[in-house]
């Protein structure tokens, strides 16, 4: 199994929560934003995003609302909930601790 893909799979929820916490957003914009911010590193089958969004919504971390645009088109925008913000804050702290620890181990080895 591809290690990068496994890492992405394990952190998809946190990445989605983070993007949604910045501003209410919708599926297609999330895909583009992930690709842009990661300089094309995060590429995946776009359809897998929707089960992840619905999982987050089921766990009350985000909430989805349909909005009608001026051109009549409908989009489902996702908003982060208070519970989602708390979970995201904990995950980011854990990730930063983990990332610092990994860097420390690697730097100690290479210096």
């Amino acid at each position: 199994m591809n290690y990068g893909r496994e890492l992405l799979k394990g952190n998809t929820d946190s990445l989605l929560l983070y993007l949604i916490s910045r501003e209410p957003t919708y599926g297609y914009q999330i895909v583009k934003e992930l690709e842009k911010r990661s300089n094309g590193y995060f590429q995946f089958k776009e359809g897998t995003l929707y089960p992840a969004l619905h999982r987050l919504e089921r766990d009350n971390l985000i909430t989805g609302k349909w909005q009608i645009l001026p051109n009549g088109q409908q989009r489902r925008y996702y908003y982060i909930t208070t519970k989602g913000q708390q979970v995201l804050a904990r995950r980011l702290a854990t990730w930063q601790d983990f990332s610092t620890a990994v860097k420390s181990v690697i730097q100690a080895e290479t210096t």
Partner: protein, 298 residues
């Protein structure tokens, strides 16, 4: 000819056996995604046909998305699982404490069951509703059987009026439930199968509830009846909590069938023809939704 997008969404919808509102909502989300991607690719100079083909490919397998969406929504919470199992446990309690002999306790449970079933039906049919609905349907069927036990001419007159009406209500509720998900119809009918298996296997009297041997047999088998309903409660909890559909089918089919065949075995073949008729009716009603589900997938 269907466009790439329509074909993709049809495949997605056909693979997702879930509440229609959720299915249509996700399909609409996928549609807006595909439309937006197609328009963007068209702006880059691709033809509509090429653009929609690439958009569809980048979403990935519709069957895989449907499976993942199903697994997200199919697993009920522990609260839902316990509430779904509660009517089976209440019936087990009736038999554990011989409360079924007390008209007040028995009536209270009937009123509670009917009330909760109506409440759930009006509140958008949540998954916990269906076992309660099974018990709600039980008096409808039992009344028909009791009417047949009336003196011959009266019985037939009552049955000719009542049975078509009862069948209409029964079929209407089963169809409405199956429209949501075939498996929910079997979940709803499981207590009917188990109840009527015991009902039929306990005696050979011509008039079921009037026969004293039948009541004595019911008392003698009370412990096994309690175990049956506790097993049904366990199967219901497993059904609600399990994610993969095939495990749900196994948990739904095996316990009620084992219980009903065990109940029939205790009768040692001395079942009244009416008993066989009721048994076959409940077995047919219970198994048909799962068979329809298999046919739809096959």
């Amino acid at each position: 000819m269907l466009s790439n997008i329509s074909h993709y969404l049809n495949r997605f919808k056909a693979s997702l056996q879930i509440d229609q509102t959720i299915r249509d909502g996700v399909a609409e989300e996928l549609y807006t995604h595909l439309e937006e991607k197609t328009q963007e690719l068209e702006k880059k100079g691709l033809s509509k046909e090429e653009a929609s083909k690439i958009a569809v490919q980048s979403l990935g397998s519709p069957e895989l998305i449907a499976q993942q969406i199903y697994e997200t929504h199919a697993q009920g919470s522990w609260k839902e699982a316990l509430f779904s199992a509660l009517p089976h446990l209440l019936v087990a309690l009736l038999f554990t404490s011989y409360y079924w002999q007390n008209i007040i306790y028995a009536s209270l449970i009937v009123v509670l069951t009917v009330g909760i079933a109506i409440y759930g039906w009006q509140r958008g049919k949540p998954v916990w509703l269906f076992p309660w609905l099974g018990y709600y349907l039980m008096p409808v069927v039992i009344t028909g059987i009791l009417l047949l036990s009336l003196p011959r001419s009266w019985g037939w007159i009552a049955a000719l009026i009542y049975i078509p009406l009862a069948l209409f209500v029964f079929i209407h509720i089963v169809r409405q439930t199956a429209r949501r998900d075939w498996l929910y119809a079997s979940l709803m009918l499981a207590p009917i199968l188990v109840t009527f298996s015991w009902f039929s296997s306990l005696g050979t009297g011509n008039e079921f509830l009037m026969d004293s041997m039948w009541w004595a047999s019911l008392q003698a088998n009370a412990l096994w009846i309690v175990i049956s309903f506790i097993a049904l409660a366990g199967a219901t909890i497993a059904f609600i909590r399990l994610k993969p559909r095939r495990y749900k089918i196994i948990s739904l089919l095996i316990p009620p069938l084992v219980i009903s065949f065990s109940a029939i075995a205790t009768s040692r073949g001395s079942i009244h023809p009416w008993g066989w008729l009721i048994l076959l009716f409940s077995l047919f009603a219970f198994a048909t939704p799962v068979w329809m589900q298999a046919r739809a997938q096959g």
